[in-house]
């Protein structure tokens, strides 16, 4: 029998089942869309039948997916307030994971943009940034911690009003058998940071609503995404907006693509990656 202000009839198994099933068709602002081709927000120019992932991630929340080599992932900052913190792993050997130092050092470039490879520490490219109309991203500052969010917002718990990126990554990683030890420094999209001549960091913020970035999986990946404020965002309020994620079947970078041999380092990145995939039988 219902008690107090509880309006639900859940006193028996049968009534509880009716109550639970009545929720199934509801719609939330943030939710996954299944099948993926049922998304209300299909990316322009993409055949719906090729979609493998469609989701809106709430601010202060996270998502994760195992995706095939050759998958193209589109992240969209709907309101201009999203900040997509990303960690990626080789799904078939997850001790190979994003290495931010190699990601900025090997292309000789600290700022992320179209064509930038996201490298592991194993001399391979896990994903390539293949489209970007935001150009406000960051590979230096990582994500927020419980300690930082507790100090800035007064709360950092995943179930609270201002979760930290690291706490959300810990949960997302655990769902793939990975522990906090497996969380390397992350990168983030849609909030920019620039380095001053003396090394000082300047937060340059958002490029505005509706901007998107596309990542091409060059290996099978575990992708973790935490949508939380950038750790250098100076605003005193926990400010974040919804993140839209769509992914579809495409193909990995191959010889003949401009980026394959755009630089000597890029050529060897792709050669190493393609060689690994071929040897492993996942080309």
């Amino acid at each position: 029998m219902a008690t107090g202000t509880n309006a639900h009839e859940t006193g028996t198994v049968l009534s509880a089942r009716v109550d639970a099933r009545a929720r199934g068709g509801k719609v939330a602002d943030a939710m996954p869309y299944l099948p993926a081709n049922s998304t209300p927000f299909p990316p322009p120019g993409v055949a719906a039948s090729t979609l493998t992932w469609a989701e809106t991630v709430a601010d202060g929340n996270y998502t994760h997916k195992v995706i095939a080599r050759g998958t193209r992932v589109r992240l969209e900052d709907v309101t201009g307030e999203a900040c997509a913190h990303i960690v990626i792993y080789n799904a078939v050997a997850p001790w190979e994971r994003l290495n931010v130092a190699d990601t900025v050092k090997i292309p000789w470039q600290a700022y992320l943009g179209t064509g930038h490879p996201l490298l592991s520490g194993d001399g391979r490219v896990l994903a390539t940034i293949v489209a970007d109309d935001s150009r406000s991203h960051d590979a230096l500052c990582g994500t927020s911690t419980a300690k930082a969010n507790q100090a800035r917002y007064g709360d950092a718990a995943p179930e609270g009003p201002s979760p930290s990126g690291r706490e959300l990554f810990i949960l997302a990683a655990a769902k793939h058998g990975l522990t906090p030890r497996d969380l390397p420094p992350s990168i983030s999209f849609f909030k920019g940071v620039r380095v001053e001549p003396d090394g000082g960091l300047t937060f340059t913020g958002s490029a505005g609503p509706g901007k998107s970035v596309e990542l091409l999986a060059e290996l099978p990946l575990i992708m973790l995404i935490a949508n939380v404020p950038h750790p250098a965002d100076p605003r005193p309020r926990y400010t974040c907006g919804p993140l839209r994620v769509h992914a579809w079947k495409s193909r990995p970078t191959t010889e003949g693509d401009k980026r394959w041999d755009a630089t000597p380092e890029a050529l060897r990145c792709y050669l190493n990656t393609a060689g690994y995939a071929a040897a492993r039988g996942i080309a």
């Binding site: 290495n99 000789w108 911690t145 190493n272």
Partner: protein, 243 residues
């Protein structure tokens, strides 16, 4: 046997014959070796020479100070720190630079963990700035940077993996690191790279442990960029008790 001492008459420990390790003739022409000494007062707890190309590690007690001496000048000392009691908590480049608001490490920089906690504080530094953006070299990444002909060369990642294995750690425990005495400017358009060093023989940096920390050092063996002047030389590590 030749006894090697610094100007204060101290003889560091070394896993190899010190007279050989500190023989300038083993290094590039014109190499000057300066052993200097600790940057902090306090009883010497530990004093070692890390030979060129070699790894080293030790647990340093909270409050103690680690002085690293760039004995031969412009020798990158790649370095990782871990909470000695829970190595899941370890040095974090992004937490260090975000809390500090600056990408370069200088006197006063707090070296933070992936939970944002202070692992150590830089208390003295004899060069303009230290690097924590450039990461570590390794066999695999060398192939990207310099070509497949480098594949048989040893790297810092290999030093870190071997040294970490002594503590039950593996590939997932090796994260982006500090590079003492390495120079990595970031230019206005984001261009960055390892360029000629700004250190010299006998230059030092010192950090105080803010908790019991496991320190891993790779004395960088890279032969394809100026992180060690194309001339790998020894480092000296001196731990002094907190005063």
């Amino acid at each position: 046997m030749t006894i090697v001492t610094d100007a204060a008459g101290q003889t560091p420990d070394c896993a190899q014959d010190l007279a050989i390790v500190l023989d300038p003739a083993r290094y590039a022409d014109g190499t000057v070796l300066d052993l200097a000494g600790p940057l902090a007062d306090g009883a010497v707890v530990l004093d070692v020479i890390v030979p060129a190309r070699a790894p080293w590690s030790a647990v340093v007690t909270k409050g103690d100070v680690v002085t690293i001496v760039d004995v031969g000048g412009n020798q990158s000392g790649d370095c990782l720190l871990y909470n000695a009691h829970d190595t899941g908590e370890r040095y974090s480049v992004p937490d260090t630079i975000t809390w500090d608001g600056n990408v370069y490490v200088r006197t006063g920089t707090i070296l933070r963990s992936n939970d944002g906690n202070p692992l150590a504080t830089v208390i003295a530094n004899e060069i303009d700035r230290q690097d924590t953006i450039g990461g570590a070299c390794g066999k695999e990444s060398n192939t990207l940077r310099y070509g497949y002909h480098t594949a048989s060369e040893h790297g810092c990642r290999e030093n870190f993996l071997g040294e970490a294995s002594k503590y039950g750690m593996g590939a997932r425990d090796i994260v982006s690191n500090l590079n003492w005495f390495m120079n990595v400017p970031i230019e206005a358009d984001g261009a960055l790279g390892i360029v000629d060093g700004i250190s010299a023989p006998g230059k030092r940096v010192a950090f105080r442990a803010e908790m019991d920390v496991l320190v891993l050092i790779s004395n960088c063996p890279q032969m394809n960029n100026p992180c060690n002047g194309f001339n790998p030389t020894p480092l000296r590590v001196i731990v002094t008790a907190g005063v």
